[in-house]
Structure formats: structure tokens, C-alpha cells
């Protein structure tokens, strides 16, 4: 059976493709070295328009009469006060641009102006080298290093900096008092967080990014409102950090890392903490089939967040203690404990 995969890797090669939702400008070229927070591509999206009804305002009954007095063309850039339409004659009546903008279209004696736009930017998300450019859309970036994927992120923001590990054990809880001023500009790794004030304190320092073992779901709205990336490794509720991620993070204290925190399951966008390393690794697969000896992380009580290895995938359906029937596997936990877990609750760690 096809397995869900999560990456917790000490060394791997990764390739990430970043593209704009609309056509725009690509700002990088092949071979260029980029930082995680660098803008790869950008586009302008119109946010406000003004419709100038020349025909009605100048009192014409016919469209062609109105269009004859419009002195601008589609695509033309105008400044506030520029003449848009002018009747001419001794007592000429004039319609002027209400603000700076671009004439988008002229139709039925009306002029549509775009007066405000907002840039849409795509960030690199990892430090690495641009290996491919997609004209008007974006680029692919490749790099090698350590990678940890999270279960949830608060949005496509990037934070780069020195990683400071605050948790001593996987069960630790992040308190607001742990966030001292010395952490300003750091990527902070904490345990479980249930205090919204801790997030606000982190914002006030500010930290570059916050990585949590788990978070109370009450904090989702607050986290989404933060302007720095927050990555949650296990998900919601009080769950210790899994042993694999804990080991990797605690042995990488004070390294330069980046955190990118998008979250869109269907699009395959998950938050990632990346530690660039000079050594080249191997590309990890994004999909595998369940098999014995795979390292897996368990979802769901009573073993949530525990890491073990598959002993065997059971044939047919297995009846769980609560009566639910499902395809399942025997999983060996550390120390020598073997449990039965539905395959749907296992993520293969690759």
C-alpha cells in the first residue's frame, strides 16, 4: 500500500520548484546562488480599479460620441490630473484621471483604470542554486543539507538565522519566559506551546522563525496572524517531538538554518526546516510503499508521535481494540514493544 512520507533526514539533496500563480517576472538565472528569503519571481496583481463613465458624465447618448472624445488609449500609463476625455470647443468639458494608474480598457464609452496593484512574490524557501528557470513563472532551486518537514505551518514565509534549541527533552513546553532578548534574530526551536502570549513575545523580539514540537489548536488563529514563520513538527495537541527530529535538531544547535512555513496538503506544500551542508546527499523519494524495516512515525492516540519500525504488513483487515477494521502493520517501538497500527496512521520517515 502507498505510504505517506515525511522527511527527517540528516543529509539529502532537495529540489524545490517555486512558481507564480500568474505570469510575471523571473528575477534569477540558472546557476545563480540564492538565499532562502530571496525573491525568485514577482508579478503585479491589480487590486483597485476606477471606472470613468465618459458617455454618461458628458451627457452623450451614443457610445461612438463618447469614444471620440476619449484622448487616451488602452495600456497607457496616466498620472493624477491627466486628461482622459475632452469635448473641445469654447467651453470644453474635461474628465481627468482621479489618480495615477493605467488605462486597462475602453469600452462602451467608459474608461477602466487600474489605480492600485500589489506585488505577488515567490520566495526561494531554501538556500541553494537555481538549476532551471521557467520563463514568466519561476525557477527550480537545488541544494543539499539536513531536512525536517513539519505537519503544519502558518503561511509561506521564510526565516533564516542561527538555530537556537530551547528544549532539553522532547516533552518540554515553551514558556513565554524562555524567550529572552538574546534570541532576537534567531530561529528558535521549542517544545509544545499552549500560550498565545509566547507567540506574541516571539514576535516582539523578533525571532526569525519559530519551530515547535506541537501546539494547542487554540493558537492557530494567533499563529496565522504572525509575520514570521511558525512550523509545527507533530501537529496539534500536547505531543512530544518525535525522537528522530529531536536527535537531528539537538545535534545541529547554533547552525545556520532556514524555515519555510507554507501549508497546503493537496499542493504538497509542507513547512520545512533546512540546514544547508557542503556535502552532497541523495534525493529522497516523496512516495514509497509500506515494507518491513521502514522507519515510521505514528499518528493517533495512544502512540502519537512515536517512531518505530515496521515488522510486517498484516494481510487483509485487522480488528483494532476499539472494533474498527483496517489494513494494519506490526510496528516495533523502542524499547522492545510491538504494537498494531493501521497503515493509514503511519508515515514513513525517509
Amino acid at each position: 500500500m502507498l505510504a505517506q512520507v515525511t522527511h527527517i533526514l540528516g543529509l539529502t539533496n532537495i529540489r524545490r520548484t517555486r512558481t507564480l500563480p500568474v505570469a510575471g517576472r523571473v528575477l534569477v538565472s540558472p546557476g545563480q546562488r540564492v538565499h532562502a528569503a530571496d525573491v525568485i519571481a514577482e508579478a503585479d496583481t491589480a487590486t483597485r480599479h476606477v471606472l470613468l463613465d465618459v458617455r454618461r458624465w458628458l451627457g452623450y447618448t451614443r457610445v461612438d460620441e463618447a469614444e471620440r472624445v476619449i484622448v487616451r488609449h488602452e495600456g497607457e500609463r496616466v498620472q493624477e490630473g491627466d486628461v482622459i476625455a475632452e469635448t473641445g470647443g469654447l467651453f470644453s468639458r474635461i474628465i481627468r484621471a482621479p489618480s495615477d494608474g493605467v488605462i486597462v480598457t475602453i469600452t462602451a464609452g467608459r474608461v477602466l483604470m487600474q489605480v492600485e496593484s500589489r506585488p505577488v512574490q515567490v520566495l526561494s524557501g531554501i538556500s541553494g542554486v537555481v538549476t532551471e528557470v521557467y520563463p514568466e513563472r519561476g525557477a527550480a532551486i537545488e541544494s543539499s543539507g539536513a531536512l525536517i518537514q513539519g505537519a503544519w505551518g502558518n503561511g509561506p514565509m521564510v526565516g533564516e538565522g542561527l538555530m537556537v534549541i530551547l528544549l532539553k527533552t522532547p516533552e518540554d513546553e515553551l514558556q513565554r519566559t524562555d524567550l529572552e532578548v538574546s534570541l532576537r534574530g534567531a530561529v528558535v526551536v521549542g517544545g509544545h506551546c499552549k500560550d498565545p502570549e509566547a507567540l506574541r513575545v516571539a514576535a516582539s523580539l523578533p525571532v526569525r522563525a519559530l519551530v515547535l514540537a506541537s501546539m494547542s489548536s487554540d493558537l492557530i488563529a494567533v499563529a496565522r496572524g504572525m509575520e514570521f514563520p511558525i512550523m509545527v513538527i507533530e501537529g496539534f495537541g500536547r505531543v512530544p517531538m518525535n525522537e528522530a527530529a529531536f536527535r537531528l535538531l539537538t545535534t545541529s544547535d547554533k547552525r545556520d538554518v532556514s524555515v519555510y512555513a507554507p501549508f497546503n496538503l493537496a499542493a504538497g506544500e509542507r513547512p520545512e526546516l533546512f540546514i544547508p551542508l557542503p556535502t552532497t546527499g541523495q534525493m529522497a523519494p516523496d512516495s514509497v510503499y509500506f515494507a518491513p524495516n521502514q522507519s515510521v512515525r505514528i499518528q493517533g492516540e495512544p502512540y502519537r508521535g512515536r517512531v518505530g519500525s515496521i515488522v510486517q504488513v498484516r494481510p487483509g483487515l485487522t480488528v483494532l481494540p476499539n472494533g474498527v477494521r483496517a489494513p494494519a502493520a506490526d510496528v516495533r517501538l523502542e524499547p522492545e514493544t510491538q504494537v498494531i497500527i493501521p497503515l493509514a496512521n503511519l508515515e514513513v520517515i525517509e
Binding site: 505570469a23 480599479h49 469600452t107 477602466l112 487600474q114 504538497g268 512516495s287 496512521n345
Partner: protein
């Protein structure tokens, strides 16, 4: 494309947001039977973005279960059946997978054509991202910005009764025209015009220069008449096409399919409409699909279908929609255990991250079934709000969805449905353990025999006959006197008190005739006369009288509430065969 009327075997593929199912039907001794189901994780999203992998795995699983080779060289589906018996004669495909189609609804009056456009939008897997009508007081350029900001994939444009308003509709078209000219070609929404037919040709001509325009019959031909049927067909095709652009692999399936690919909700609706024509016209038929991302209710009376997809509202990613609409206390009230609101909410949010995960403990199973109850309640309330002429009186009710099909016991599924839907009157509740409803609906137009024979074959599990009287009497008051006469002539009499859930001594498959005497103004069934008695057939949970009241009021005191929940659960469990 070929007909399936004379087909012997049929493979139905249903691509869900979490799982893909492959279902095999074949004729045995001149009767269609459901043979087996294979299931695999859907692969429409990351990392595949191609439905093919999930379909291949589900069919492979089906092959293993049935020992019937369905895949040939290079893992291609073998259609038709080969001389050696491998392969299958026909295939149909339904899907609910994909991201929401973003829908802009436009109409003349808020409570007339715009409301109809909203109801039409709710028949499919979409979200209404913007609504514009003549009642809208925003300036036209502000409306334009709202359209551009909405990111709509599809516009449903309604308005103007037949031979009614044209100028007002033209104003809406002008606005759409401005939007179409402003947007880049690939971002222009398709348009479904379902208004005054006088304008149809002109609108297709004008807007058709910029985007795809489909014209359907007027969904509001007159002020007091709404007809969503033909427009629903066209909308489903548009949504299938739009979602097909999000993922690969659908074209290859479409080429092998005996009928056009269609949406799961639409296909289920078609089955329910078909059944409502077969069954007693005075009763309605209800279909419920409790999915991972959405919940679909299809209610049909005498061939008239009301279809409503509530989204996001489901047992996977759709839990986010539930958690935005209910307070934790509303979930807690269904739990017979002592647990904090935080634990319940954390569990359900976590399930949105891992929608395929299953409950492994009794507590987490109880949390999921509590969520299922609230989802069913919200979905049925939404249905009644959209179609006020409906009430929750249907006979029978068909229910599907992993949470119900995978419930540890049929009694849990039955109680969840009763608590969530709160039907009234006489009904029989069937569970669809293999997710057959959409497949049967997809095949029904070309092979009406197959769905009927499958329904009669026992592929749907009869959970039980349920009588839900409605009474204003105080709890503890006797509201019904019941007499059951069995086929062997034996009789049983019992009194039913308001607030109780009473199991009847009817075994699975056993028939009994029930005579009820209503007391204190109790209404037994608003749709049919029951004075001469009526026949019931016991399901796996037997038969019940649910006199707990409508709406069901749970005791305020947590201790008493838990006691009631346990008592009701035990009442149904005790009727199950060992």
C-alpha cells in the same frame, strides 16, 4: 462511447479526496451482484498530481481480492472482457477529489434568481466566493474589484424570468465583460448562463469572445418556479472539466469509460432521484454521503431531486469547516466520557492534517462519531434552509461515508445517523458499506436494472426500521401504545414514553406488522396514514421507536447526559445479533 445496457460486468471507479475505490459488479445467474471493492489512497494531489496511481492501486487490490485479472500488459485496464475471462466489460468513473471550484453567483434579485444561483452552486463541489445582484449597492468598479479579487473559476449568471427583464441582466453582463477584458486569458472564469433565454444567444456571442460560455434552461423561469435540474447537469460537466485541469490522468480514464466522468454528489443524486421514482411517491428518499471534505445530502420525492453539498464539512479536511461552525461544547455533548474541550478540538484539528488516519482507541472513535453527528446536523439544517418545503421525513434513508461504514458496530452507525439527521416518521436506514451509491447513480441512466438488482441483493446493509414520533408531551409521558403482530401470529404490546429509545423485539430479516395508538397529540408520520398498521422489517439492529423528541434535547447535566448516551447506545447494541 458505448451503452452499458447489455454489459455483463462493470468496474466502477470513485476517486475521493482521500481514497480511491474500485468496485466490481457482475451478472451471476442472470442477476447483477456486487462482487468486491478495492481501495487505495487517492493520488490526485502531491506528490503524484495524477489520479492514475490511486486507480491502479485500487484495481490491483480488487484483483487480489477477486483473483480476477483486470489489468493486462503494462498495467492497462482490460476492457472489454477477454476470452480467458480476464478484464471487465464496462467502466464508469465518478470523482469528488480536487480543490473547490470557486464560484461567482450573479442574479437580479437577492431572494429570487440569486438564491436559485446559490442553490445551483450548492449542488456541486464549489465555494461561492462572491455574489452580485441588483440589490448590491457597491459602485460598479468596486464590484469589478470584488470579482477580480475572488479568483472565480466559474460564474453562474441567472436572472430574468422567461420573457421578463433583459436590461438588468445586460448590466450584469457588462460587468462580466469588463472583468473578462481585465483578466489574463488563463484566469478568466467560465460562464454558465441560466437566465432569461431571450438573451442567451447574445450573451454567448458577446462573452464567448473572451471565455467559455454554457447556456442552460432558465433556473427561474417564473418568480415562483425554480428548475435546477437541467442546469445541474451542465454545471456538473463544467466542474468535472475544471477539476480535470487540476490533475492528470482523467483523460485516460474518460477514454475507457462507458459514460462521461461525473461528480460523485451528482451521481448519488441521480440514484436517489431514480429510487424516488421507483418507490412510493408519497414518501421521499434521502441519500447521505459523509465524505472527508464534503457532506452531500440528496433528497428526492416523486422524481424531484434536491441536492446539497456542504463544503468544507466532512470527516477529514472538512473538519476545519465543522470547527468553524460549532462550539466545542456542541461536540462534547455527544461524548459519553469525561474529556476536556481542548482534547476534542486538538484531535479534530490534527485529523485535518492527516485526513486518512483512523481512530485507534474508544475515546478517539467516540470523538469522531460526535463530529459526524454535528456534521450531519449542520448539513441537514443547511438542506432544510435551502429547501424549506422539505422536512426530515424519508423512507428509506441510504447513508455512506468511511466514518459510518467503518464504525466499530452497526449500532454506532445507526445512532450517529439518528442523532445527526434526527428524522421524523417511519423510516428504514441502510448503510452503504462499500460506497456504491455514486457508482449505481453513474450507471443508472444507461442500465436501470443494475442499481435495482444491487439494492435487492443486500449489498446495502439494513441497519433497522425506525419509528420517530414527534410529540410536545413532557418527558416520561406515555405517547404511543404499540402492538406488534408477527407472521406466526404472536403479538407483543408495549407503551412508549416521551424521551425514550425503545428497541422492538424484531430480529434481523423478521417481518412484523405494527399498530400504533398516538396519545397526547403525538404525530407518528407527517407523510402517511398509520392508522391501519404498517409492515416493518428488522435490520441488523432490529427495529426501534425513537421517542427522544425532535429536536433531540440532551440533558443539561453532564452526568445525566452521559448516562442517557450510554443507555441509548446499550438499547441498540442489545438488539444486535451476537
Amino acid at each position: 462511447m458505448t451503452s452499458v445496457v447489455d454489459a455483463d460486468s462493470l468496474l466502477a471507479i470513485d476517486i475521493g479526496s482521500v481514497n480511491t475505490r474500485a468496485l466490481l459488479f457482475d451478472a451471476v445467474d442472470g442477476q447483477y451482484h456486487f462482487l468486491a471493492a478495492g481501495m487505495a489512497p487517492s493520488s490526485w494531489g502531491a506528490p503524484f498530481f495524477d489520479v492514475g496511481e490511486g486507480v491502479h492501486l485500487a484495481v490491483s487490490r480488487l484483483q487480489e481480492i477477486t483473483s480476477r485479472p483486470l489489468l493486462g500488459s503494462e498495467n492497462r485496464l482490460q476492457i472489454p472482457t477477454q476470452p480467458d475471462g480476464s478484464g471487465v466489460d464496462r467502466m464508469v468513473v465518478t470523482m469528488s477529489a480536487g480543490r473547490d471550484v470557486q464560484i461567482l453567483v450573479m442574479g437580479l434579485l437577492n431572494d429570487v434568481s440569486l438564491d436559485s444561483a446559490r442553490r445551483l452552486a450548492a449542488t456541486t463541489y464549489g465555494s461561492i466566493v462572491e455574489a452580485i445582484s441588483l440589490n448590491d449597492t457597491r459602485r460598479q468598479d468596486v464590484q469589478l474589484d470584488a470579482i477580480l479579487r475572488s479568483g472565480a473559476d466559474l460564474v453562474i449568471l441567472a436572472g430574468g424570468t422567461e420573457r421578463g427583464a433583459t436590461r438588468s441582466v445586460s448590466k450584469l453582463v457588462e460587468l462580466l465583460l469588463l472583468a473578462a477584458r481585465t483578466l489574463p486569458t488563463e484566469k478568466r472564469p467560465r460562464v454558465l448562463y441560466s437566465g432569461n433565454q431571450v438573451l442567451a444567444r447574445k450573451i454567448k456571442e458577446v462573452l464567448g469572445k473572451y471565455t467559455d460560455v454554457e447556456v442552460t434552461p432558465n433556473i427561474r423561469p417564473s418568480i415562483d418556479l425554480e428548475d435546477l435540474g437541467p442546469a445541474t447537469d451542465t454545471l456538473t460537466r463544467a466542474v468535472t472539466s475544471l477539476r480535470g485541469q487540476q490533475m492528470s490522468g482523467l483523460d485516460a480514464l474518460a477514454q475507457l469509460s462507458a459514460a462521461p466522468l461525473t461528480q460523485t454528489a451528482y451521481a448519488m443524486g441521480r440514484l436517489i432521484r431514480f429510487l424516488s421514482e421507483l418507490y412510493d411517491a408519497s414518501k421521499g428518499v434521502l441519500g447521505v454521503d459523509l465524505g472527508a471534505s464534503s457532506t452531500t445530502l440528496a433528497a428526492a420525492v416523486a422524481g424531484r431531486l434536491n441536492l446539497n453539498v456542504s463544503r468544507p464539512l466532512g470527516m477529514g479536511a472538512g473538519l476545519a469547516g465543522l470547527l468553524q461552525q460549532v462550539q466545542p461544547e456542541q461536540l462534547l455533548r455527544w461524548l459519553p466520557i469525561d474529556i476536556t474541550p481542548g482534547e476534542v478540538v486538538d484531535y479534530l484539528w490534527q485529523k485535518t492534517l492527516y485526513p486518512a488516519s483512523l481512530p485507534m482507541t474508544s475515546t478517539t472513535l467516540a470523538i469522531e462519531l460526535a463530529a459526524a453527528r454535528e456534521i450531519l446536523r449542520l448539513a441537514s439544517n443547511q438542506m432544510i434552509e435551502r429547501y424549506p418545503a422539505l422536512n426530515m421525513t424519508f423512507e428509506p434513508i441510504f447513508a455512506g461515508g468511511a466514518a459510518l461504514a467503518q464504525a466499530a458496530t452497526p449500532a454506532q452507525a445507526l445512532l450517529t445517523l439518528l442523532d445527526g439527521l434526527q428524522p421524523s416518521g417511519l423510516t428504514t436506514i441502510f448503510i452503504d458499506p462499500y460506497g456504491l451509491m455514486a457508482a449505481l447513480g453513474a450507471v443508472a441512466p444507461s442500465n436501470s436494472i443494475l442499481p435495482v438488482q444491487i439494492l435487492e441483493s443486500g449489498a446495502f446493509q439494513n441497519l433497522g426500521a425506525v419509528i420517530c414520533p414527534v410529540s410536545d408531551a413532557r418527558p416520561g409521558t406515555t405517547i404511543l401504545r404499540a402492538r406488534l403482530v408477527f407472521e406466526d401470529g404472536n403479538e407483543t404490546r408495549l407503551d412508549v414514553k416521551q424521551g425514550s429509545l425503545v428497541p422492538l423485539p424484531v430480529r434481523h430479516g423478521q417481518t412484523a406488522r405494527v399498530y400504533l395508538e398516538a396519545l397526547h397529540g403525538t404525530q407518528i408520520d407527517p407523510r402517511r396514514r398509520t392508522s391501519g398498521g404498517f409492515k416493518i422489517i428488522g435490520g441488523v439492529c432490529g427495529a426501534l421507536i425513537d421517542a427522544r423528541g425532535r429536536p433531540l434535547a440532551l440533558p443539561e447535566d453532564p452526568g445525566r447526559r452521559r448516562e442517557s448516551l450510554l443507555r441509548w447506545s446499550q438499547a441498540i447494541e442489545s438488539r444486535r445479533p451476537a
